[in-house]
């Protein structure tokens, strides 16, 4: 546990400071809670993209708490905020409800089919490359399906990742039918006795009906080739995305049976607070976080560890 936390913190930007680092600084030597302090705390919370609603409600709780019970040491404020936030974000105060990353993988299902979806440029292909490596290193036989037939050189990009991870790819020509690629890849995966098939899809904005229909079709077709597939559907969210993340996740969840989230680009200065809102509102666990562009920059997620790392 401690080592994952260390890895997390190392991966997170060196210049960034956890939420609670900032808040601890703010409340240092404060023995009264005035408007100025409240506003500063609000700025920290909103600045982390936690969303207006969550931020304001947490501030209000703090105000009520102080009015009701007062406080003796500044540290009490930090502790209160922390438990309040964890309650908001994970549904239960500080309770262990993290999902270890590879928990979702069920080796008795063969091939285990993972589909990765999300809006444009959020890091689907990169995540798949890294994920392939994790499974491959774990001794599983992996196959990738290049079902992004739209973006220029998308298949080539996936192929390079496949080579790096030492796994195979099924692809088609540019502009081909993505559902057909997915179908063929799953058939091939069955024939070749592959353990894990990961399907890459084209980026799409959640507001585009025809593209969302296309995604539905890919999902449906996978089910035709293997009744229980896909077994895992991951949505990638860019950590720097603001309030729109929730709309994205809602729409994708309505379209395909999402089972988890991957938060990418957490190596930047964005804190990715919206992801926590998404997680709690849509009841979707974060499986992995992306902490860079290299092969080993995908880390398993554990919500408590994440909150700790984020808030320290």
């Amino acid at each position: 546990m401690a080592s994952i936390l260390e890895k997390f913190k190392k991966g997170l930007a060196k210049t960034r400071e956890g939420l609670f680092g900032e808040i601890t600084k703010l409340v240092k030597n404060k023995y009264t809670v005035d408007d100025e302090l409240l506003e500063q705390i609000e700025e920290v919370l909103i600045g982390a993209d936690l969303g207006v609603e969550t931020s304001l409600s947490v501030i209000e709780q703090l105000q009520n708490h102080v009015n009701r019970e007062g406080f003796n040491e500044p540290e009490e404020l930090t502790a209160f905020l922390k438990s309040e936030l964890i309650k908001h974000l994970t549904g239960s105060p500080g309770e262990e409800n993290g999902t270890a990353a590879t928990d979702f993988f069920n080796p008795t299902i063969k091939p285990f089919v993972v589909m990765v979806v999300g809006v444009n440029g959020t890091g689907k292909t990169t995540t798949i490359g890294k994920l392939a490596k994790i499974f491959h290193d774990n001794g599983q036989k992996v196959l990738l399906a290049a079902a992004d037939t739209f973006r220029a050189a998308a298949s080539e990009q996936l192929e390079i990742w496949a080579k790096r991870a030492g796994v195979d790819v099924v692809r088609t020509q540019a502009g081909g039918d993505p559902a057909a690629v997915a179908f063929d890849a799953l058939k091939a995966a069955i024939a070749r006795e592959v353990d894990v098939l990961i399907v890459d899809t084209a980026g799409r904005l959640h507001t585009k009906v025809n593209l969302m229909e296309e995604l539905k079709k890919i999902n449906r077709v996978l089910g035709k080739a293997m009744e229980t597939a896909p077994h895992e559907v991951l949505l990638t969210l860019d950590a720097s995305t603001g309030q729109n993340a929730l709309l994205q996740a809602k729409e994708f969840k309505e379209t395909v049976p999402l089972t988890g989230l991957v938060v990418t680009k957490l190596d930047g200065t964005a804190k990715g607070g919206m992801v926590l809102t998404v997680q709690s509102q849509l009841d979707l666990p974060v499986r992995f976080v992306g902490l860079g562009e290299s092969m080993d920059d995908l880390k398993p997620f554990d919500s408590k560890t994440f909150v700790e790392a984020l808030f320290q």
């Binding site: 930007a13 060196k14 210049t15 609000e42 700025e43 909103i46 600045g47 982390a48 993209d49 207006v52 809006v119 444009n120 440029g121 959020t122 890091g123 490359g129 739209f150 973006r151 220029a152 050189a153 998308a154 080539e156 990009q157 192929e159 390079i160 990742w161 540019a174 980026g203 904005l205 959640h206 507001t207 585009k208 009906v209 025809n210 229909e213 860019d238 950590a239 720097s240 995305t241 603001g242 309030q243 729109n244 993340a245 709309l247 680009k265 190596d267 930047g268 200065t269 964005a270 804190k271 919206m274 562009e293």
Partner: protein
């Protein structure tokens, strides 16, 4: 949203009428509402705060209070102030007095730089220019290949080498452009984090060597609070000349536009609204202001309609209608045109008064459209032209082929029949104003 906003302000001003005087609390409430609207649109906290402070006086001035509709007055002033803040001189692309004009694209990973390179090339080519694209992203797998394909799609030259360095390839690109008399050269650089010292240094080096006339900071329009951090660092290092916001074809409110503009002072030059290479648009500060305030955007709606509707086709259909030859095929075409305008929900949002509350309870069934499309798709061309030939067994086949059921097919055919009748009747009075609405 717009409705919500008006209502909120109205409730703030409600008790005013009697006393005619603004209390401290009124002021505070109004300001809090304004701030909240901005924050919900992803405007940066500090930027929102500064903005609210600066408009406070104007928004609650004497004129507003005397007005019969103070809420609307406040919104009007807000809109005007936002527009001014985001607008400003220097739109379009600078042209070098001695060609080639050098344009460098920079930004975070996945923000849309390579796609923009293609769009700019197309935009310039359409204006008779002859740009050269330079693949300076040697980081992301297959980025060079991506730019090569994009250049091919547009039909412009590209300099793409795998075993170069970003600095070298840019210098080389500049020389090649001079030799081959390309009047513009565009550098597509790798995405990078603003805190990546080595990679930021690399950009400075490219700038130093090639002296670009324009450096565009390409930012994802869906970005949240972090937008200012990246923008500030890029402008500090590179003093970029303009901003391009991408992925604004979605439903993000786009507060990043205001944030980035405010903290860098640089103009927003273009917005990117799609994956296809012809979706580069001029930036209109007033429309962006409406979008951030959630007020709908009628101008964009009209433009989209013009864009999506093929006039030639519209005229043909009008003729067919007159001669009563309107077939299911034409019906399908109409459907496509409407779909080209974008998701119906999104279109509705652009109509003032249709956003927020007014939309609740009124959902447009996009899925119905998709099903209709599937049904028509499953018919043979002959069936589409002469739907009367679709008998029971054909109906069954069409239903199976489209993954719907016979009832749905029946319903569509019936609706179509009714429409034909209606059209007949209407054409007696003369038809104008196509395409027909639903």
């Amino acid at each position: 949203m717009f409705q919500d906003l008006t209502e909120k302000f109205e409730s703030v001003f409600k008790n005013l009428r009697g006393h005619g005087k603004l209390t401290e609390k009124n002021i505070a409430d109004t300001m809090r509402e304004i701030r909240r609207v901005l924050l919900e649109a992803d405007v940066n906290f500090k930027v929102a705060k500064d903005f609210v402070t600066s408009v406070q006086e104007r928004a609650l001035g004497h004129e507003v209070l005397k007005s019969v509709t103070p809420a609307q007055q406040v919104i009007k002033i807000l809109h005007a102030e936002l527009t001014t803040l985001m607008g400003g001189s220097e739109v379009g692309i600078k042209t070098a007095s001695a060609p080639p004009t050098v344009i460098m694209l920079v930004g975070l990973q996945g923000s849309g730089k390579t796609t923009l390179a293609g769009k700019l090339a197309k935009h310039l080519k359409n204006r008779g220019r002859n740009p050269l694209l330079v693949a300076a992203d040697l980081q992301r797998p297959a980025a060079v290949e991506q730019l090569r394909i994009v250049a091919e799609q547009v039909g412009v030259n590209v300099l793409a080498e795998f075993d170069s360095t970003p600095v070298k390839i840019c210098s080389q690109g500049l020389q090649q452009a001079r030799r081959a008399s390309n009047d513009t050269v565009i550098f597509d650089t790798a995405g990078r984090l603003h805190i990546d010292e080595a990679l930021m240094q690399e950009l400075s080096e490219i700038k130093k060597r090639t002296q670009p006339h324009e450096i565009f900071f390409v930012a994802d329009g869906m970005t949240g609070q972090d937008a200012v951090n990246a923008a500030q660092e890029f402008v500090r290092r590179l003093d970029f000349t303009g901003i391009v916001l991408t992925k604004l074809d979605g439903d993000a409110r786009g507060g990043a536009a205001l944030s980035i503009r405010a903290v860098t002072g640089k103009p927003i030059k273009f917005i990117s609204t799609g994956e296809k290479l012809d979706t580069l648009e001029k930036f209109y500060p007033d429309r962006m202001a409406s979008r951030i305030l959630g007020m709908g955007d009628v101008v964009s709606l009209v433009e989209r309609a013009q864009h999506a509707v093929d006039e030639e086709k519209a005229r043909k259909i009008e003729k067919k209608l007159r001669r009563q030859e309107f077939s299911l095929e034409d019906f399908y075409d109409q459907l496509q045109q409407i779909k080209n305008m974008g998701p119906i929900e999104e279109l509705m949002q652009m109509i003032p008064g249709m956003g927020g509350k007014a939309m609740k309870g009124l959902t447009v069934d996009e899925h119905a459209l998709v099903r209709i499309e599937a049904i028509i798709n499953s018919m043979t061309p002959a069936e589409r032209r002469r739907p009367t030939m679709i008998d029971g067994s054909r109906r069954k086949r069409v239903a199976r082929g489209s993954g719907t059921n016979v009832q749905e097919v029946n319903k569509l055919l019936k609706q179509f029949q009714m429409m034909q009748k209606m059209v007949k009747r209407m054409s007696k009075f003369g038809m104008k104003g196509l395409p027909m609405g639903f």
